[in-house]
Symmetry: none
Subunit: 314 residues, 2 copies
DNA sequence: TTGACTCTGCATGAATCCATGCAGCATTGG
DNA sequence: CCAATGCTGCATGGATTCATGCAGAGTCAA
């Protein structure tokens, strides 16, 4: 068991503190595109470390903390010791040497200085701005989700193949369904908006199925009406493939959907904001267009007619 | 059950879990920030959670883990419990429910699935992601605009004072108007949605004015129908104060609006995305609530009735 | 060479974290 | 209406992590 790794230790022994650490952030974190916060934190860490006289082992620990500044603030002293190739007590002594009460205190400090998640950099945002930023965060999640376009592509293919295409959205989600249907109708020959529940819903689903529908798109946003679950259940029994855009993968409609695409809603205001679901709907529409060969032609024809009628001001 | 987690075999206990883990590639990265890499894994996390039946508390934990996917893999069960607002044993039970041998095993799994270690990426965004980031930029502009809430406050006061309150949105903007009207009706006694133009529009404006309307809210998005300009002109001549949410301060409707609030639309996809206008609409609604003393009571009454009717699943 | 000094890992008590039995509460079905 | 079931938080024993005393090794100066 490697009790001592003096060989590895020696390589750093000669390096000055400032030099040895100063080279780190550029090499380790510079690649990360927008991680300015962490880099700034690294600079602060370096200041913290440089102002103390550190032993070779401690320098090694510091080096490790800077290099792994992303996750180091969450590791235990044992884990840091393993990563740095030192003993666990050395990590504790390192923390004490820097003036902390112990390793947990150092870790707390690292979490505050190098916030992985938020930027509590003096944010006097008002209520509205906070809501907007919360939605930005939701969109970030959506963007990350779209890194893999396969689910969207599958959904687009399924929806494009359905003639007619029923689009369901009840209550709060009605507006989303309507927005989708408005644009979808420009490229799809038969979009049927289902924004009312009740007994008529089954009739219209039956009608769509008789007309040849094979899939249904559902927007499901909180608060989730019980009716939506019933509607989807009916649609599936009628033989439709259900594609759902929901606020969460754990939404009540998940169980009665064949393909669920999550997009969080914003809850920072009195009423929910559905930016991400709307955007996801448009993305879905784009994907549908890829499976509708006549889409481009339809759009151009619409433009021509609109121009002829003087429909728009531009 | 393994006494120590260093066995390395503990986290493979669950069959389905192991499968989900095996599909982890090291390349799937999306967002620019360091946490983006971790978020890219949130899709895989969702898959993991989806395949299990979860209790409400467990869903909260899952939500928390997804939302904080950057640092959650390094938190203790106590910390996760605090973030999720549940008890610590619930976190342990959550891990067991997913097929792990305990919380440490789940944490190990999360660390492997969502490596914070940001790979050397020049991750080129795909088309969808570019559109999402463009909308994020729009929201940033909106947030900057909202630094001064005075215009929104003025608009909210004007709209709240109008009984009834006509809400206009034609064609593409119809969905926005509808979404606003749906929520507004919960706090305002008489919201009238005008989402159709034609000759009926003037009739309905006249009706609203006779009923006491003093203001009108208009959503104006591209492409701007000529009809909207005509409608607003008519509404102003009828004595209504026109508040407009438009995609630009230079929109064609600017000339016939008393108060114009700009919110850009996204044009990165085949069809426009109106995240910022939607958000601005909700902000406007929030501001309206501040001028409607009965708003809170109305909402609570609605909640009570909805609960009595079993309208929603939650 | 020798002595003093410093540094480091090992071992062990203290503190914290994790897992499980138990009781209270809500929901469902009869 | 009641019983049964499942879910959740509280309390507690076991396991892990942290902090500190101790001894060996290296360094430097006399």
């Amino acid at each position: 068991m490697g009790t001592t790794e003096d060989g590895g230790d020696a390589e750093e022994a000669g390096a000055g503190v400032g030099a040895g650490l100063g080279a780190v952030p550029g090499a380790g974190l510079g690649a990360g595109a927008g991680e300015g916060a962490a880099e700034g934190a690294s600079a602060r860490l370096l200041k913290l470390f440089e102002s103390h006289r550190l032993t070779p082992t401690q320098r090694r620990i510091a080096h490790c903390l800077v290099r792994r500044s992303a996750d180091a603030p969450f590791l235990s002293s044992v884990e840091v010791a393993e990563l740095a190739g030192v003993s666990q007590p050395s990590v504790t002594r390192f923390a004490v040497a820097l003036g902390f009460d112990g390793y947990p205190a150092l870790r707390r400090h690292l979490r505050e200085v190098a916030p992985v998640r938020p930027g509590p950099e003096a944010a006097p945002y008002n209520e509205y701005q906070q809501a907007v930023h919360a939605e930005i965060e939701n969109l970030r999640h959506l963007a990350a989700l779209l890194a893999d376009p396969a689910p969207v592509a599958r959904a687009g293919a399924v929806l494009a193949a359905s003639r007619p295409l029923p689009v369901l959205g009840l209550r709060a989600a009605g507006a989303q369904a309507r927005g989708f249907a408005y644009f979808a109708a420009k490229v799809h020959p038969d979009v049927r908006l289902l924004d009312e529940g009740g007994t008529m819903f089954a009739d219209r689903v039956d009608g769509a199925v008789r007309a040849g529908a094979s899939a249904l798109l559902c927007f499901a946003l909180p608060r989730h009406p019980r009716e939506v679950v019933e509607a989807l259940t009916y649609a599936r029994h009628a033989g439709l493939t259900v594609v759902t855009v929901a606020d969460s993968a754990f939404a009540p409609v998940a169980a009665c959907s064949d393909l669920l695409l999550p997009a969080a809603v914003g809850t920072g205001l009195a009423f929910d904001t559905a930016c991400a679901p709307m955007l996801l709907g448009r993305v879905l529409l784009e994907s549908m267009c890829d499976h509708l060969p006549d889409a481009q032609a339809s759009l151009e024809e619409f433009d021509a007619r609109a121009a002829a009628r003087g429909l728009f001001t531009d």
